[in-house]
């Protein structure tokens, strides 16, 4: 079976991309394709708790990311990206953290990679 890795690297709201990463991920999972979503670089901000997206008339990316496991889409947070940004992990949704080596393995194992 094909393994798909989706990598969200951009902050939410500035562009639609982390939201699209989520949508692509749940679409592929709904087809029973083995799909993982990794938040890295500024994509980490998609997992910050307490987003008030309604204030700018957007849908909450936090809610989307938080709901991903309910769709069978595992989401991973890249630890170094969190540290580089000085984010306290308690500010983030309780998702599994991975280090750069694990991310490297995920990249190696994937048959298809989509970056957003």
């Amino acid at each position: 079976m094909k393994k798909v890795l989706i990598v969200a690297r951009t902050s939410p709201y500035g562009t639609v991309l982390p939201g699209e990463a989520f949508l692509a991920g749940i679409a592929l999972r709904s087809m029973d394709i083995d799909t993982k979503l990794v938040l890295t670089d500024d994509g980490i901000f998609a997992a910050v708790k307490g987003q008030k997206a309604e204030a700018i008339g957007h849908k909450s990316v936090e809610d989307a990311i938080g709901s991903a496991p309910d769709f069978g889409l595992p989401v991973y947070l890249h630890r170094e990206a969190i540290q580089e940004r000085g984010i306290d992990p308690s500010q983030l949704l309780p998702l599994e953290m991975i280090d750069a080596n694990t991310l490297k393995d995920m990249v190696k194992e994937a048959d298809a990679i989509m970056t957003f």
């Binding site: 094909k2 798909v4 690297r9 951009t10 562009t15 639609v16 991309l17 699209e20 949508l23 692509a24 679409a27 592929l28 709904s30 087809m31 394709i33 048959d111 298809a112 990679i113 989509m114 970056t115 957003f116």
Partner: protein
């Protein structure tokens, strides 16, 4: 071999669609199977209304690839969000759901993503 290209960036702003055209043309010429999915802003490249006097016409290039056998589909939801209508798409291209992207991935030997690289 079957190669799938997934493009996210809009035409003329980014080089990705031009790169995919060149790669797809050569892959087809060598007898490979090619599928292209136009995702996010790249959906604009399927508009038959694009006019580029004196410059390359990307939707016509897509039609040319389709005539050579490329399977070209664009994200229907992306088109709706950007005001593109089903009947305005370049010949040989069609709108579809992300399930088609999933099928392309599942049936391809190589999958190459052309994203924003921000």
């Amino acid at each position: 071999m079957k190669v799938t290209f997934n493009v996210q960036t809009g035409p003329y702003t980014f080089q990705n669609l031009d790169t995919v055209y060149e790669l797809a043309k050569r892959a087809l010429d060598r007898g490979h199977e090619v599928a292209i999915f136009l995702y996010v802003d790249s959906i604009g490249a399927m508009s038959a209304n694009i006019a580029t006097p004196g410059d390359r016409n990307i939707p016509q290039r897509l039609t040319e690839l389709a005539e050579k056998g490329a399977f070209i589909r664009g994200c229907g939801a992306c088109a709706k969000y950007r005001g593109y209508k089903r009947n305005e798409m370049a010949e040989g291209t069609r709108l579809a759901g992300t399930a088609v992207l999933g099928e392309m991935i599942a049936t391809s030997d190589k999958f190459i993503n052309f994203g924003f690289n921000l």
